[in-house]
């Protein structure tokens, strides 16, 4: 009771209206994001609807001209390639990242776990450009890999400037993220469930597929989404390792703004499409995640 007296006194000496504090806290970042993220995104949406003046002088009055350009066969190929790179990278990072995260979270000695995880993701902290550049050194025709192969008398591989090099580079760039997320989810796994499953006579395979995987499904979903989104928007790996044959959506967008033949309207439409695909992926995850939560 006595504590309420000084409190009312202090509020009396500071008669700031209720809205002042939240405004001071939230307005600076809010205005910044509104001005430099939301308004720009609306602007490229508007720009994407500005019709092109085609060489023939035919203007599509609906304003969807830039979007119709995307669905032309050659452009559609680019979109497909981007999606395939992103899906391929997701599959590769999940398949190779799960055993690693499993080992680090559940098998490795407890006191080594943090150190091993840090060691695994440490390459993430180096320049992403130089990491891709390192793969050029390894994969180029006279590079490390081929020097090694020919010293063993094996045929050399021509991987650089082709799809395999892009997939290797993207997998390399995104694997640490996948392992980090899977590790966080596997670490929280209730080990007693695994023991109970083994005690009740399940084989290790049964325990893995019926207990471990379902329990870590949220982590798998989050890792898949993160890698897919970053793979879809990746510019550096396709640009440096893919050569001219591996045009992707991100490279195509880049060229519309900084290339020799610029078309900002078309580039904006491509960017909007990228944002929409990413939003769709997130919406699917949320919907799927909810269903999963309900079924458990």
């Amino acid at each position: 009771m006595t504590s309420s007296a000084p409190k009312s006194e202090s509020t009396a000496t500071a008669p700031a209206p209720k809205w002042v504090q939240p405004t001071l806290l939230l307005a600076p970042a809010g205005i910044w994001l509104l001005l430099l993220l939301v308004v720009p995104t609306l602007l490229i949406f508007e720009l994407s609807l500005v019709p092109n003046i085609n060489p023939g002088g035919i203007v599509n009055p609906s304003g969807l001209d830039n979007y119709l350009r995307i669905v032309q066969p050659e452009r559609l190929n680019v979109i497909w390639r981007s999606l395939l790179f992103a899906i391929g990278t997701t599959v590769l990072t999940l398949a190779s990242g799960f055993p690693v995260a499993y080992y680090l979270a559940l098998i490795a000695p407890q006191r080594w776990q943090n150190l091993l995880l840090l060691g695994f993701v440490l390459p993430l902290w180096t320049s992403s450009l130089l990491r891709s550049y390192a793969w050029i050194t390894i994969l180029r025709p006279t590079g490390v890999l081929n020097t090694f192969l020919s010293s063993l008398g094996l045929p050399t591989l021509d991987l650089l400037n082709r799809a395999p090099a892009v997939l290797i580079g993207m997998t390399y760039s995104l694997l640490p993220y996948m392992v980090l997320i899977l590790y966080a989810s596997l670490e929280k796994l209730d080990r007693r469930l695994l023991e109970a499953s083994a005690d009740l006579g399940a084989t290790p395979q049964q325990t893995f597929w019926k207990v471990t995987v379902p329990q870590s499904l949220p982590g798998i979903a989050a890792g898949t989404l993160l890698v897919f989104i970053n793979g879809l928007g990746d510019f550096i790996n396709p640009e440096l390792l893919g050569g001219t044959s591996s045009m992707t959506a991100a490279r195509l967008i880049y060229n519309q703004f900084l290339g020799t033949t610029q078309n900002w309207g078309f580039g904006s439409a491509l960017s909007m499409m990228l944002i929409m695909v990413v939003s769709l992926a997130i919406a699917l995850l949320i919907k799927y995640g909810d269903n999963h939560a309900k079924s458990v």
Partner: protein, 264 residues
């Protein structure tokens, strides 16, 4: 799950993947000391690639531009990102969901889309591109990372400490600076370190928002390695790896220390 052998296949596979993660780094380090400029074969030991990039004025000025951008962007983000996280944790208001969505949007939208949108916006309002436009664009994603780090810490904090300070007669500002901020500091610092590393590494957003006179380090590196293999870039890689590896370890130690404190 009890493994039958002392050395399960997952351990072997993890070892293999460690090899995969460190192969490019080993290769860059190895060739940074190789005399032959353009060969996969070892021809002798040299330090000349290191002295070459350390005397390269374009690399050094690009490094200065990068540091100017990252330090300014992170400093500003530390302030407004922390304020935003506190505001979001403390208040309920109309449109909070929208605000939150906007706050973490930069973590989701691909860099290329952010870069394009910022360029179009800057062109529309006729702001000349410069170092300042790069900083403004970097603040957008840096503040998201700071806010993310701070908000996870805020969840674990004891709200009564700040109430106690207010009850004891502290002004809201005093309570914020003297009670809340010291508790948030480890989270602010680790968020800033992450934002700093990502800002130093960013190529796309800088490329789209930098004016003619500005070249950040990733822009300089990109323009060089696209053409051919450059041995002085190997040396630069090793230098950058050691620097950011050091920062990474400091950040991790700091994170672990706060983690331990929380459970004591």
């Amino acid at each position: 799950m009890q493994s039958q052998s002392r050395f399960p296949w997952q351990a072997l596979f993890t070892l293999l993947m460690f090899g995969f993660m460190y192969l490019p780094i080993a290769v860059l380090s190895f060739y940074s000391f190789n005399q032959a400029p353009n060969s996969a074969v070892w021809t002798g030991f040299t330090f000349s690639w290191y002295s070459q990039f350390l005397q390269d004025s374009r690399i050094l000025s690009a490094l200065m531009d990068s540091l100017a951008v990252s330090i300014s962007a992170v400093a500003l983000s530390a302030i407004i990102g922390t304020l935003m996280a506190i505001g979001l944790a403390r208040y309920q208001f109309l449109g909070k969901g929208l605000y939150q969505g906007m706050a973490y949007l930069p973590l989701i939208i691909p860099d290329i889309a952010i870069a394009v949108a910022t360029l179009v916006f800057l062109a529309a309002i006729a702001v000349p591109l410069s170092l300042w436009t790069v900083i403004a664009a970097h603040v957008v994603f840096c503040l998201s990372y700071v806010a993310l780090s701070v908000s996870t810490r805020l969840v674990d904090l004891n709200p009564h400490l700040e109430e106690a300070a207010l009850d004891l007669g502290a002004t809201p500002l005093q309570a914020l600076v003297m009670v809340l901020l010291p508790q948030l500091m480890p989270a602010i610092i680790s968020g800033c370190l992450l934002a700093f590393v990502l800002s130093m590494d960013d190529f796309l957003i800088a490329k789209f928002t930098a004016g003619g006179g500005v070249t950040t380090l990733p822009m300089e590196i990109f323009s060089r390695i696209r053409v051919s293999v450059k041995p002085d870039m190997n040396a630069l890689s090793v230098f950058l790896m050691l620097t950011s590896g050091f920062v990474a370890i400091v950040a991790e130690l700091m994170r672990q220390r706060t983690h331990k404190k929380r459970f004591q």
